[in-house]
Symmetry: D2
Subunit: 346 residues, 4 copies
C-alpha cells in the first residue's frame, strides 16, 4: 500500500506516462492525504499532454498532472482542524499566498503569488494526492464522485454566468466547450429568458441544445450577428458570456450585445482583440468583467448550492467515463471535440 499509480509528465516532450510512485503521505502540518475517487480532464491537461508552448515555459517534469477531482480524506496533517477522515472533498486548485492585499481583501483569485495544482505542484491523476487543507471543500457525500469531480471547472462557469444578473435575461454563450456547456446549463437552471449558444462544433452545439439552449448558432453556417439580432427583436442580448477566446467571435459579440449590456469574459485569446471603443463600449454604456478562477470560496458555495438544487443536468455534462489507466482514450476524446466532461476513475 505504499505505492500508487499516477499519470505523470515524465519528460520535456509530448505525452503522459502511468507510473508507480510512492503515496505522498509525508504531510506538512496543514496538509491532508486524499484517496482519489474520480478525476476529470481539463483543457489545461491536454495542453500539458501536447507539450505546447505554454507548457514548455511553465511545467517542470516530473509532475503528477490533473487538478479536478473528488476524493476521500484518509490522513490529516497535525494542524488540520477543518476536516475529518472520511470527508469527501474537492479542491480549489489555486494555492494562494494568503498574505497579499488581494488575499486579505476577498480577492484571492487574483493573488499574484498563486500556485496551481497539477501545474506547479503534483496533482490528482493518481490514486492518492496530498493537498493543503485550506483548499479543500467538503462535498455532499450523497452525490456521485464523478459529478463532484467536475466542480472546479463548473465553478469557472458559475463565476462567469452569475457575475452579472441573468435571471429572466437573454444570454449569449460564446463557445460551447465543456465549460461553455456548463454555462448553458446554468443559464437554464436559473431561469434565463432566451439562451443563445454559439459554437462551430456540431456535436457540442447539439449538446448545448440538449442542456437548455433555446437557439443554437453555428458561425460556420450563418451570420452570427444577424441571427442574434433577429432572435432578440433587433435589440441584442442582455448578457454575453465569453468562453471561446476567439478573436472574431469576441469582436462579433461587441456588435450584438444590447446597449447597457454586460459581458463576462473567461476565454483566453491568443491574439489581441480590436474594439471600436466609442461605438461598442462608450455609446452603448456596456459593462465588461474579466473572469479568472473562482471567488474563494463564495463561488464554491454557489456551485454546491446549484448542484443541491437539483437543477443541473450532471448526467449530460459528463459524457465519458474511463478508468485512470485509459487516460489516453480520455485525452483523445477531449481532443476529438466530441465530448462534454471526461472523467477518469482510479
Amino acid at each position: 500500500m505504499s505505492t500508487m499509480k499516477a499519470i505523470i509528465k515524465a519528460a520535456r516532450e509530448p505525452g503522459f506516462k502511468m507510473v508507480e510512485k510512492p503515496i505522498p503521505d509525508d504531510l506538512l502540518p496543514h496538509e491532508v492525504l486524499i484517496k482519489i475517487k474520480a478525476t476529470s480532464i481539463c483543457g489545461t491537461d491536454v495542453h500539458i499532454f501536447d507539450w505546447d508552448k505554454w507548457s514548455q515555459g511553465r511545467i517542470k517534469p516530473p509532475l503528477t498532472v490533473g487538478h479536478e477531482f473528488c476524493g476521500e480524506v484518509v490522513k490529516l496533517g497535525d494542524q488540520v482542524r477543518s476536516l475529518q477522515k472520511g470527508d469527501i472533498v474537492s479542491a480549489e486548485t489555486h494555492i494562494v499566498c494568503g498574505r497579499c492585499e488581494f488575499c486579505r481583501q476577498g480577492q484571492s483569485h487574483i493573488c499574484a503569488d498563486t500556485k496551481i495544482i497539477g501545474v506547479d505542484t503534483d496533482g490528482c491523476f493518481a490514486e492518492y494526492a496530498k493537498m493543503p487543507a485550506e483548499n479543500l471543500i467538503v462535498n455532499n457525500s450523497g452525490i456521485d464522485p464523478k459529478f463532484l469531480s467536475i466542480q472546479e471547472p463548473f465553478g469557472n462557469a458559475v463565476h462567469t454566468m452569475l457575475h452579472f444578473d441573468i435571471i429572466g435575461k437573454t444570454v449569449a454563450i460564446v463557445g460551447c466547450g465543456p465549460i461553455g456547456l456548463m454555462g448553458v446549463n446554468i443559464a437554464k437552471a436559473v431561469g434565463s429568458r432566451k439562451i443563445i449558444a454559439i459554437e462551430i462544433n456540431p456535436y457540442r452545439l447539439q449538446l448545448a441544445q440538449s442542456l437548455g439552449a433555446h437557439v443554437c448558432i453555428n458561425p460556420l453556417e450563418e451570420d452570427v450577428i444577424a441571427r442574434v439580432m433577429e432572435e432578440t427583436g433587433g435589440m441584442g442580448v442582455d448578457v454575453v458570456a465569453e468562453y471561446s477566446g476567439n478573436k472574431h467571435a469576441i469582436e462579433a459579440a461587441f456588435k450584438y450585445i444590447k446597449a447597457g449590456g454586460k459581458m463576462s469574459m473567461l476565454g483566453i485569446a491568443s491574439d489581441n482583440i480590436e474594439v471600436d471603443l466609442s461605438n461598442d463600449i462608450v455609446f452603448k454604456g456596456i459593462s465588461i468583467y474579466g473572469v479568472i478562477g473562482r471567488v474563494m470560496y463564495q463561488t464554491w458555495d454557489q456551485v454546491a448550492g446549484l448542484i443541491e438544487s437539483g437543477k443541473i443536468d450532471l448526467e449530460q455534462l459528463v459524457t465519458h467515463v474511463f478508468s485512470l489507466s485509459e487516460f489516453e482514450d480520455g485525452i483523445a476524446v477531449m481532443k476529438s471535440g466530441k465530448s462534454g466532461k471526461v472523467v477518469l476513475i482510479p
Copy 2:
C-alpha cells in the same frame, strides 16, 4: 356595444354588485381602452368587498374594482405612441406622478403621489377599462390570458424574491398565500438550494410543496425555529422572504436567519413588531429590505423573462377560473384559503 358589465362597489357597505354601465371610451390623450380578457382577484379586492376599516377610509363608491388583468387594446388616445390596437396588455397598477424626486430617480414605486387602479380609479372587473398608456406592459400574445392576468402580484413576488441573491441559497418563505406561493415557485425557478415554506393553512402548504418547497413547516404543528435550524445544519437560512405580516412569524424569522443573512419584507403587519436589535440585527450583520410594489418597470421585465423562460408553474398557481358574473364564488374561494390565484373571465 356602448354599455358593459362591471363589478362595482356600489355603496359604503359590504359586497359588490354587477351592473351595466357605459364603456369608458372617453379617452384622455394619453389613455387607451382595453377589452378585458381575464382578471384575477387580489386580497385587496376581498378587503374592499368586506368593507373593512382600511376600505372605509380609502374607497369612494361607486367604483369599479379590480386591478389585475390581461386585455386587448381596442382604442387609443390621441397622443399614445407606445401601443397599437390589438396589443395584449397588463397594467402596473401604481399610477404615479412622474415628477417627484422618486419618479425622476428610478424609484416610482415609492412615489408619494400614487393612485392605485381599482382603489382610487375605476378598475378592471369589467368588460372594458381605460388606463394610462404609460402603465401598460405589452405581453407575449402567445400566453394564455388567465396566466397573464396574474403578473401584477407575480411582480410583487419577483420584487421580494430577487432583491437579494437566492441562487443556490437556502430560503425561507414565510406565509404562503397566493403571493408567497409564487415566491416558492420563483425560488425553484432560479435554483435555490433549499426552499423552506412556512404556513399554517394545510391546503396552501401542500401547494407550496407541489410548487417546489423542499421543506414545509406548519407553525401550528411544530416549532418553526427549531425545525429551520435543524434543516440548515444549525446555521439558519441565507434569505427570508416575508409574506405573512404576522408578528410572531416575523419575530421568529429574526431568530432563524443566518448571520449575514438577508430579509425581504412584503407582508403588511397590523401590529408593531419587536426586535432584539443588538443580537438579531447588529451582531448578526443582517440586511433588511422593505418591498413595496414593483420596480417600474424593471420588475415587469423580470416577470416577462421568467414567464418566457418556461420555468414558472402557471398551471398550478392559478387554481380557479370563474366567469366574471360568478365573482362572489371567486371571492368565497379566496376567503376559504383553499386557493392559489382565482381568475375571472368577462
Copy 3:
C-alpha cells in the same frame, strides 16, 4: 422684447453668427421658456463651430447652438406642473423618447431615440430658449449662475468618477480637459487616496494639480506606465477614469491598472483600440464600464449634492467668463487648451 440675440450655425461652413431672432415663446404644453443667465462652451460646440466631419453629418443649419446653461423660467406650457416661474434651472441635454425599454427601465441615458439640445434642436447660446419641462432641473438659487451652467458636463464627470467606488482608492485620471479636470476635483472631494492626473497640456496639468491631483504626469515627458507603477508601489491604480479617447493613453491604462481594478471610459476614441484580452482583462479580473451621458436623473442629484456639500472648487473649474457676443473669444480660448470651463453671459 419679441426678439433676442442668439449664436447660430447659419450655414454648412465653419463659424457661428450672432443674429437677432424671435424669442421662441410658442410653447408646446410640456415646454417652458427660459431666460438664459449663463451658458458654457462644450467641446461639441467647438466641433460644430469648426464644421468637422461629425458636424457635417449631424447638424442641420440654421441652428441655435449650445446646451450647457443656467436660466430662469419665465413662461410655462399649459401642462407643466413640475416648475414655476422664477425657478432657476439647468437642463439634461438628452431629450429621450420615454417609451422604449431603456427609458422605462431607468436607462434613459442609452435611449436609442435621443435628441440632443443644441445639436438636434435649438440650444441655449441665446438670451432665451425653450425646453421640455421634463428635462429641467431646479437649481439651488443661491449659487452663482456661471457655476450652475457647467452642471451638465460636471454630470459626465460625476457619472464617470462615481460608477465605481473611489473613496480611499488610488485613481488615475487620463486626460485633463475640462471634464477630466472636474474628475480630478471630484476624486479630491470624495476622499480618494492618491489622485494621478495624466495630460500632455502643461496648463491643464498645472490646473489638475491645483484641483487636487497628488501626482501629475505628462506622457510627453516621462514613461506613464513606469511612473504610475512607481507611485503605486508596483501594484497599479485601483480605478482608471478615461477622458482622453487617445488610443495610446488607453492602451497604457490597461497596463498600469491593478489586478481587480475598475475602468470607467468616457473619452471618445477615433481609432479602434487594441487590447491584450488575456493578460489585461481576463487574468487581471478587471471591470470596465462605458459612460454615456448622465443617469437620468440620479446623476443630477449627485451633482447637486456634491455642489451643496461645498467640496467642489467651482471657482477654479470656471477659468474664463465672456459676454455672449464675445463667443469667438470663448471658442478661441477653448481651442488654445489654456482653459477650464469657459462661460458666456447673455
Copy 4:
C-alpha cells in the same frame, strides 16, 4: 528589559491596576511581539473597568486590557512572512477561526468563533503585546502613532458610513460618541450634502459641528423628527447612521428617514426596539444593515485610504493624550463625556 508595565484587570471587581509583568516574548510561530507606541481607550475598556454585568460574564482576570493601538514589530514568530521588524502596525481585534463558512466567504467579521483582543486575550494597554501576524495591518510610518492607534474604532465608523452610498446625500448621525464623531467627519470627508448630528451631550454636539456637521440637534432641547423634516424639505434623510443604541433615538429615526432610505446600525441597544413595520419599513421601501466590526480587511484599506487622503481631521478626533500610567485620568475623561478619543502613551 524582561518585564514591562501593563494595565490589567486584576480581580473580579471594579478598577484596573498597573503592574510589572513579563514581556510576552514566548511567540507561537504565527505571532509577533509589538512595542506599543500609542493605545486608545474604547467604551468597552470602560465597561470592563466598571465591571458591569457584561464584563462579569465575559472577562476572566487577570487580563491585560486594551485593544486599540499602534506599535512597532520587534520580534517575529518562526512562520511569519508578512511582516518585518520595524513595521509600524495596528491590529484588527477580532481573532477569527479562519475555517468556518463565514471566514471562507469574506465574512470573517461575523465568524461565530471569534476571540477579541483585550477581552478574551491579553491586550495592548502595556509596553509590549503579542498578536497573531494575520491580524496586523502595516501602517504608513509617516503618521503620528497617536492617530494610528484609533484606526480600529475608525474602522467601525467607516464600515457604518460607507456600507451605503453617502456621497452627495443627506445623512443623519445618531449618537456622537467618539465613533459617531468619526462618522460625522467621514461624511464630511466624502462629500455628503447635509450632515445632521443628533446628540444629547453638548460638548460632543459642539465637536460634531467642528468636525463637519451642518446641523446639530439636541433631542433634549428640540423635537428631532420635526427638525430633521424641516432641514430636509419635508422629505427626510437619505441615510441614517445609528451609533446611539438608544431605543427612542432609533424609533425616531424610522420616522425621519426618507422613503427608499438606508439605515446602518452600529449602536448596541439594551432594550428591544419596536417598529411599525408596515409604515416605516415596507411602505417606505427602506434598507437596513447591521454593522459588526470591520470587513476583514477591506474596511482597513478604506481606513488607510481615507487617512492618506488627508481629509480626516485626526487632530480634532483625538482630544486627550495621557501617559499609560495616567490611565485612570483617561478613563475619567471618557466617562465625563467631554472627550473624543483618549490616547495613552506607554
